[in-house]
Amino acid sequence: MTEPLLDIRGLSMDFGGLRAVDDVSLQVLPGEIVALIGPNGAGKTTLFNCVTGVYRPTAGQIRLQPPGLPGRRIDGLAAHRITALGLARTFQNIRLFAGMTVLENVMLGRHCRTTTGLLGAVLKGPGARRQERETVEAAFGMLERVGLAGYADEIAGNLPYGAQRRLEIARALATAPSLLLLDEPAAGMNPQETRELDELIVRLRHELALAILLIEHDMRLVMNISDRIVVLEYGKRIACGTPLEIRNDPKVIEAYLGEDGHA
């Protein structure tokens, strides 16, 4: 068996008396698309926040094994260092740099892959110029991937909702991750946009050799693209398996899917 890219063991997170994530274990293999589903307040976003360094987990271990690098524990590490190790995310409540242009948002994703400092920026020598050119080039490339190249100079906050979601993906991709965490990427999208999104996710996985961990309430999207699904309820993992197994799991149907799960 291949080594998991992300290996979460016994993760728990308390907020005061509330245990939002309770002893959850979960693996993501290289190149795999794993969906994380569950009712509202199940602790899905909290799990993302623990993995990406926004919160320091109360208990448990998180290991990241980026391809070609030694594996290491990332729980308790600062958010920006986790990103530098190849883990990028989007946010459930869109967090773009709303006053900056679309292109600048993506350029910011290149921050951790570039090095120009204060002195380099002021002197603007050949090295700094080249790096700036490469940043612009890479950012345009990412915008093309998600179909936003035509909006490069727009102010990000003025984009329509669906486009903002895609811009968040482009910005995350600019950090050159090996694992992408998407928090409800289809929320607020119309059915047409959602269908395009599901093609986009599958295409990105192939083109960039990405593994993807995805939170989503849109069951059609989840069932279509996931290799595996993990179900959370009240912070606990109640099921894990292929889309077919999950669809027919009585526990999951009771807790979450209900009748419309078969839609």
Binding site: T52, G53, V54, A78, A79, H80, T83, A84, A88, R89, F91, R95, L96, F97, A98, G99, M100, T101, L103, E104, M107, L108, G109, R110, H111, C112, R113, T114, T116, G117, L118, G120, A121, V122, K124, A128, Q131, E132, R133, T135, V136, E137, A139, F140, A152, D153, I155, R171, A172, T175
Partner: protein, 404 residues
């Protein structure tokens, strides 16, 4: 009620309100010699009738506009705004304008008298301060209410090194900047995790502490008396008269402004500058994009403080005498007003606002005691009419290689 009556009533109410507000300031005068109160009702009458007329005009104009009579008018400001953006975007347009302004600034000392050159020099000091604080507040979004402390650090740095150790102006200039930057770092560390109101309170505290230390540390800072006999800057041993020195300092400051604008522009449109703005927009997303938030904040504080330290050295050299009174909260507030009024993050805006806020009170001296009143009114009007500031900072458009 017919609209005319409503307008009249509204204007009348406003006039009464303003008369009430102006009552203690304009109508009552306590004659301390004869211990009597002198009532100057005619002043109040002026305020009342003036307010009434203005309010009425304003309301009529608004009603007029609503009724569609001015519908065709917006085309003009639209074209003006379009020209404004083109002016900033196209080198063909802004290069000549920039050149003309620079040329005017260069020949200014030969056309104006020493007094004019002197106060323009003071304004240039505040231009540099505004541009420095613009990095911290305007770009990185980190509020700093004690910014003038870094200016004091630069000034005292030079005053002490010069009077105690005989160090000259030129070696002290970079030292003052570095001292400012170091203090910026020192201030930055403890407040890395704070934001909003807390940041305001703590930076305000730092500013006050700096001044209190200067006032009381007699052995080093000379206490409230300050330090006198600071050497003016030299130029290869040349001797200047008073007018010559004023001109020399003016050019020195002009050069510093040019340097500040150049460096700030380079920083603004670089990897570092983008991280500053992103930090202002969303700190959590910023960290998630791999930006070291602590480091970025510290660099913003240090860069902002650097310019204050640098221009502080020039300030000490210009005055030859410094004391803590030059570094009060009023000065911090003035610099912050410059940044806010100019338009957060906009270099052109900050330069214009600095010139306006420093020169306006000078030229309003003719109005004597009402000077600050008028000044305040202009500020309030400005914030009502244009809350985003004089010039709205525009984002740069990047082109990829090979594109036109």
């Amino acid at each position: 009620m017919p609209p005319v009556t409503r307008h009249l009533l509204h204007a009348g109410g406003l006039a009464l309100w303003f008369m009430l507000l102006a009552l203690p300031l304009l109508a009552v005068r306590v004659d301390t010699l004869h211990n009597v109160v002198e009532w100057r009702w005619e002043n109040l009458l002026w305020v009342g009738s003036g307010t009434f007329a203005l309010a009425l005009l304003w309301r009529l104009r608004a009603a007029w506009r609503r009724s569609g009579h001015l519908a065709a008018a917006p085309a003009a400001p639209g074209r003006l705004a379009a020209f404004g953006t083109r002016l900033f975007d196209e080198p063909r347009l802004y290069r000549p304008v920039l050149g003309a302004i620079l040329a005017a600034a260069l020949i200014f000392p030969w056309l104006a008298d020493t007094y004019q050159v002197n106060i323009l020099g003071l304004a240039l000091i505040f231009v540099v301060l505004g541009l420095g604080l613009n990095i911290t507040v305007g770009l990185a979004g980190l509020l700093d209410l004690g910014y003038i402390a870094f200016f004091a650090v630069g000034a005292y740095c030079y005053a002490l090194l010069n009077t105690r150790f005989g160090l000259g102006f030129w070696p002290c200039l970079p030292l003052g900047g570095l001292a400012g930057a170091c203090c910026g770092l020192l201030l930055g560390f403890p407040i890395l995790r704070l934001r909003g109101d807390y940041l305001a309170i703590v930076t305000l505290g730092f500013g006050s502490i700096a001044r209190i230390v200067l006032e009381n540390w007699d052995e080093v800072s000379g206490g409230a008396q300050g330090i006198a006999g600071v050497a003016r800057p030299g130029l290869f041993g040349a001797e200047f008269g008073l007018a010559g020195m004023t001109t020399y300092l003016y050019y020195l400051l002009l050069g510093l402004v040019a340097l500040t604008v150049f460096v700030t522009r380079r920083l603004q449109h670089s990897r570092v500058g983008r991280a500053w703005v992103a930090l202002r927009e969303d700190e959590i997303a910023c960290a998630a994009m791999g930006v070291d938030v602590a480091r970025t904040k510290l660099s913003a504080y240090a860069c902002g403080a650097f310019w204050a330290g640098l221009v502080g050295v020039i300030f000490a050299a210009r005055n030859t005498y410094i004391n803590p009174n030059s570094f009060t909260f009023m000065e911090s507030a003035l610099v912050l007003s410059i940044v806010v009024l100019g338009g957060m993050g906009s270099i052109v805006g900050v330069v214009l606002a600095a010139l306006a806020l420093v020169l306006l009170p000078e030229y309003l001296r003719a109005l004597a005691e009402y000077r600050m009143l008028v000044f305040g009114a202009v500020m309030v009007a400005m914030m009502i009419l244009r809350p985003q500031g004089l010039v709205i900072a525009r984002r740069r458009r990047y082109r990829r290689e090979g594109d036109a």
